[in-house]
Amino acid sequence: MSVGVETPPPVNQRPEGRYHAKDFKGRVDPDWCPGCGDFGVLRSVQQTAAELGLDPHRMVVVSGIGCSSNFPGYFNAYGMHTLHGRALAVATGVKMANHELTVIVTGGDGDGYGIGGNHFAHMARRNVDLNYFVMNNQIYGLTTGQVSPTSRVGMRTKSTPFGNVERPVNPITAAIMNGATFVARGFSGDQKHLRSLMAQAIRHTGFSFIDIFSPCVTFNHDNDFPFFKQRVRRLEDDGHDPTDWKTACEKAMLWGDEIYTGLFLEVKAPALHELEPILAEGGPVARRPLGLTEDQARALIEAMV
C-alpha cells in the first residue's frame, strides 16, 4: 500500500449541533482525583468540539506527560500521548504534515512552561496553527507535589519544604512576548466562559493559547477553587480591547484581589502553514504520492554533472 494518490478529503465538518459532548468521550474514564480542575477542562473541550461540529477523525489531540496530559485517552479523536514537554513539537510535526487537521495540544504548567518552555516560545513565534490549552495548577501533581514554574513565591511543597524562593513565570505575557497571536486565560470553574474562549481559539488560525486555572485539590491548597472564584474577573466585562498588547500585558500582570480571565490578545497574522510555499497547492504533504517524478530525477542528476 502507498500513501494516498487520492484527493484529500474536504475540510467540511458536520453541521453544528450534530455532535453531542458525549460523542467526544474517550475509551476510558479519567483517573483524576475527585474535584480536579481538569474535569472541567475536558468537559469544555468536549462540548466546544460538539458545538463547533468538529469531526473526531479530523481532530488530533496531542499531549505531553502529567496529570492533565492524560487527556487524549479521555477524548474521542486521534490522540498522541507523547513525551514530557514535547507535545508542541510533536503537534507541529502533525500540523505541518497535514494542515487540514484540527490540532489541540493539552498539558500542564510543568510540561509546558518548565521542561517544554523552549518549544512554547518557538511555536508561538512561528504562529503554528495549534490550539494549546494548558491546565495550570501551579504544582507538579503526578509526581505528588513539587514546586512548578507557576508556583507562587513562598509556596511550601515537597521540594520546597521551607518555601519557594523563585518567582513564577507569567504565561500570558510570555506568550504575548513570544508572538502568540491568540492569548487567553480561562478558569475551569467557569466553563461557559472557557468554552467561549476555546471556540474562539479553535476558529483563530495561528497559535492559540489558553492558560487555564485548573486547581489541584490534592497538592495545591493555596490556589484552590475558592481562591479563583473570589478573584477572577472577565476582561470583556471591562471592555478590554484584544488588539491592544500593552494593556493586555498590564492586565495580565495583575495578581491580587482581582485576576483577569478572558481574551487578552488576538492578532491577525498568517499561520506557518499559510506561509509555507510548498503547501500553496497539492494538499497536505502527508497525503501526497511518494517518490520523484522523471523530471525531478533528471534535474537532480543534471545539476551534479
Binding site: M1, S2, V3, G4, P9, G26, R27, V28, D31, D55, P56, H57, R58, V60, V62, I65, P72, G73, N76, A77, Y78, G79, M80, H81, T82, L83, R86, A89, V90, T92, G93, V94, M96, A97, N98, E100, L101, N118, H119, A121, H122, E276, P277, I278, L279, G282, P284, V285, A286, R287, R288, L290, G291, L292, Q296, A297, L300, I301, M304, V305
Partner: protein, 594 residues
C-alpha cells in the same frame, strides 16, 4: 595506458577564509566532466578565519574509495602551508605557491618548486582570491587538462556572478596555465579521458537524495557539523521536490517534530551529529513505543561533548545502540560510502515502514563531507517504495480498530490521523492493543508482556530481509580485515595493496548493526587465520559490540582516534606490524599535520 596509470593527489592548503573551496570545486568539475574519478577529503578546523585547511583531492582513471596516501601536487595559499607540508610531496612532486608572498625554506630532493609571480600574471590585481584562480590554471596545465575545459568549468562555476567575473577569472586562469605550461614539467602521466562524464556529490547530498528518492516529505534539523549539508540540500530542493523542511529550535524539538510528522503519514527524516543525537534519544524511544517509522541520521564527529567538531571518528556506535531507555525495536545501519548511503536510505525506510519502528543511520564526517565523483547511471532515484501495513483509506462507520492489534508477525496495521473509522490514541506509556494506557487501569503484567513480545516479533521479518556481509577477497586468506561503515574504502585499498605485495588478505565489512548478522560474522572470524578489526575510535567500539553479539574474541586491532581518517598505508603497515607480533593494537601515526 592501462587503468591505474593515472592516480594523482592534489592538495590545496591555506587558512579559513582564503577561498579553498572554489578551486576545489573547479577541479572536481573538471575531473568529473573528463570522466575521471575524484575523491576529496578536507581537513579543516572549527574556526571562522585563520587556522589551517588542507583539501586533498585524489584524481584517478579508475574508481577510488579513499583520498590515498600521497600528495603529489601541493598548492600553498599561505606561508604556513608551505612550512607545514614542504617535505610531504617527496621526489616527483610539485609545489605551487605565490612567489610574491611565500618562500620555501629549502628545496626538497626531487621536488619541483613552482613559484607563480601572481602580481605580474594578474596585472597587480588586488583581489586576495586571485592567487587561487592563477593556481587553478597552473594545476590544470601541470595535470595536462586542455585550457578549453578550464574555461568551460570556470564559466559554469561563476555563471551566477555575471560575465565580467567569468571573463576576469578565465583571463587570470589562462595566465597561470600558460606560465606553468611553459616553465614547469608536467606530471609524468597527463590526465586521460574516461569513457563517460561523471557526477559530483558529497556524502551529505547523497544521504539527502536517498531521502528524496525514498519519498521523504518532511525533513527537520538543527544545524550541526558535519551533518548540516543534509539540511542545506533539503532546504535548497524543498520547493522543487515538495518536501516540508523545517529548522527547529533544538534537536529535542527536531526529533519530536519528526515523530509527529511521521505519525501523520509523511516519510520523515532528520540528521544531526552526536551531540544533537544525544538530545534526540528520548524521542527515538518514543517512536519505538508508539511504533512510528522515522529515520534519524547521526553524522559522527570526534567526541565526546563538543569534541572536535570538524574531525572524523566512528565513536558513536554505542551511543546509537544505547539511544533511549528501555528495550525496543529499532534498526541501525552504517553505510560504507556516499553511493551506499544514497541506496541505504530507501531500503531503511521500507524496513522501518514494514516494522513500524525508528531507524538510525551512522554516517561520519569522512563520508558526509567528502566530495566524490559518482557514475550517474549508478544512482537509483526510483527505488522500490513499500510502506508496509499502512491504512490510507477511511471506512465511514467503521469501529473496533485496534492500533496495536496483536498479530502473528507483530505488525499491526497502522492508520494515519484524518481517516474515518480508525480513531485511536498512540501513547509513549505502555498501552494495550487499543492504545489505552496500561497505567490507566492498573499496571497489568500480562498486557505489558504481550506488547513487549508483539513488538519484538517484528524483527524476525527484518532479519530475513537484510543482506548479510560478504567476504571480499580470497576465501582462504592469512589475514582477515574486519570493519564497519566508512572504513570500507580504505580497507579495500589496503587489502588490494597487501595482496599485490604478496600478503593474502580478505575483508569482511559489516553494514547492518541492528539487527546484527552475528552468524555470518562469527563464521568469518572463526574461519580466519588472523582476524584484525579496523576502526576509527580508541576503545574498539565495533569489536566490543561484535564480541557481545557473537561471543568470539579477536586479539589484533588497528585503531585511529586522532580525528584524521585512515590512509591505506596506515593499514598496510599495521597489518605487517601485527603479523610480526610486536603489538596487539596498532595505532598509526598521522604524518600530515593538519
Amino acid at each position: 595506458m592501462t587503468a591505474g596509470d593515472f592516480d594523482i593527489a592534489v592538495a590545496i592548503g591555506g587558512a579559513a577564509g582564503q577561498g579553498i573551496a572554489t578551486p576545489g570545486n573547479v577541479l572536481a568539475r573538471l575531473t568529473a566532466r573528463r570522466g575521471l574519478h575524484f575523491h576529496a577529503y578536507n581537513a579543516y578546523q572549527s574556526i571562522i578565519r585563520g587556522g589551517h585547511i588542507l583539501l586533498t583531492m585524489r584524481l584517478a582513471d579508475r574508481p577510488i574509495h579513499t583520498h590515498g596516501d600521497r600528495i603529489d601536487l601541493l598548492v600553498c595559499l599561505n606561508q604556513d602551508t608551505m612550512d607545514r607540508h614542504l617535505d610531504v610531496p617527496g621526489p616527483g612532486g610539485h609545489i605551487l605557491y605565490n612567489a610574491d608572498t611565500i618562500t620555501p625554506d629549502h628545496t626538497p630532493d626531487g621536488v619541483e618548486l613552482c613559484g607563480l609571480p601572481v602580481a605580474e600574471l594578474t596585472d597587480n590585481d588586488r583581489n586576495r582570491l586571485v592567487q587561487n584562480t592563477v593556481a587553478v590554471g597552473a594545476i590544470a596545465a601541470l595535470l595536462g587538462f586542455e585550457f578549453d575545459n578550464v574555461e568551460e568549468t570556470l564559466a559554469q562555476q561563476f555563471a551566477r556572478k555575471g560575465e565580467d567575473v567569468v571573463r576576469q577569472n578565465v583571463a587570470v586562469a589562462r595566465a597561470g596555465y600558460t606560465y606553468a605550461e611553459s616553465r614547469f614539467a608536467a606530471v609524468p602521466t597527463p590526465a586521460p579521458r574516461g569513457p563517460t562524464p561523471l557526477a559530483v556529490w558529497t556524502g551529505n547530498a547523497a544521504l539527502a537524495m536517498g531521502g528524496a528518492a525514498a519519498g521523504v516529505r518532511f525533513y527537520c534539523a538543527y544545524p550541526m557539523s558535519p551533518s548540516t549539508g543534509v539540511l542545506h540540500w533539503m532546504a535548497q530542493h524543498a520547493r522543487d521536490l515538495g518536501i516540508m523542511v523545517r529548522q527547529v529550535e533544538d534537536e529535542i524539538g527536531v526529533a519530536n517534530m519528526a515523530v509527529g510528522a511521521a505519525h501523520a503519514g509523511c516519510r520523515t527524516m532528520c540528521a544531526t551529529s552526536g551531540g544533537g543525537f544525544a538530545l534526540m534519544t528520548e524521542a527515538i524511544g518514543s517512536a519505538g513505543m508508539m511504533e512510528i517509522p522515522v529515520v534519524f541520521i547521526n553524522v559522527q564527529r570526534a567526541g565526546p561533548s563538543t569534541g572536535v567538531p570538524t574531525k572524523t571518528e566512528q565513536g558513536d556506535l554505542w551511543q546509537a545502540l544505547g539511544a533511549s531507555q528501555g528495550d525496543f525495536e529499532r534498526l541501525i545501519v552504517a553505510p560504507r560510502d556516499a553511493l551506499d548511503a544514497m541506496n541505504t536510505i530507501p531500503e531503511l525506510f521500507n524496513l522501518c515502514d514494514q516494522a513500524q519502528c525508528p531507524g538510525i543511520v551512522l554516517s561520519d564526517l569522512l563520508i558526509s563531507e567528502g566530495t566524490f565523483t559518482v557514475d550517474p547511471a549508478e544512482i537509483d532515484l526510483h527505488p522500490e517504495i513499500d510502506r508496509g501495513q499502512l491504512i490510507v483509506e477511511g471506512r465511514p462507520g467503521g469501529d473496533g480498530y485496534r492500533r496495536y492489534l496483536d498479530t502473528p508477525d507483530g505488525v499491526s496495521p497502522r492508520a494515519i490521523p484524518g481517516l474515518e473509522g480508525y480513531v485511536h490514541v498512540v501513547a509513549t506509556d505502555e498501552h494495550d492493543e487499543d492504545g489505552v494506557l496500561v497505567s490507566d487501569e492498573f499496571t497489568n503484567p500480562h498486557k505489558r508482556r504481550q506488547m513487549v513480545e508483539k513488538r519484538a516479533r517484528k524483527m524476525a521479518a527484518v532479519r530475513a530481509r537484510i543482506a548479510e556481509p560478504v567476504l571480499e577477497g580470497p576465501a582462504d586468506a592469512d589475514v582477515t580485515l574486519l570493519g564497519f561503515g566508512s572504513t570500507w574504502g580504505v580497507i579495500r585499498e589496503a587489502a588490494e595493496r597487501l595482496r599485490a605485495e604478496g600478503v593474502s588478505v580478505n575483508h569482511l565489512h559489516v553494514k547492518w548493526l541492528v539487527p546484527f548478522p552475528g552468524e555470518a560474522v562469527a563464521a568469518a572470524v572463526n574461519g580466519a587465520r588472523c582476524p584484525i578489526v579496523v576502526e576509527n575510535n580508541h576503545s574498539g567500539q565495533f569489536y566490543r559490540y561484535l564480541r557481545s553479539e557473537t561471543g568470539v574474541t579477536i586479539t589484533h586491532h588497528i585503531r585511529k582516534y586522532d580525528g584524521e581518517p585512515f590512509m591505506p598505508h596506515h593499514l598496510v603497515e599495521g597489518v605487517r606490524e601485527l603479523q610480526t607480533g610486536g603489538t596487539e593494537v596498532y595505532v598509526p601515526v598521522q604524518e600530515v599535520m593538519v
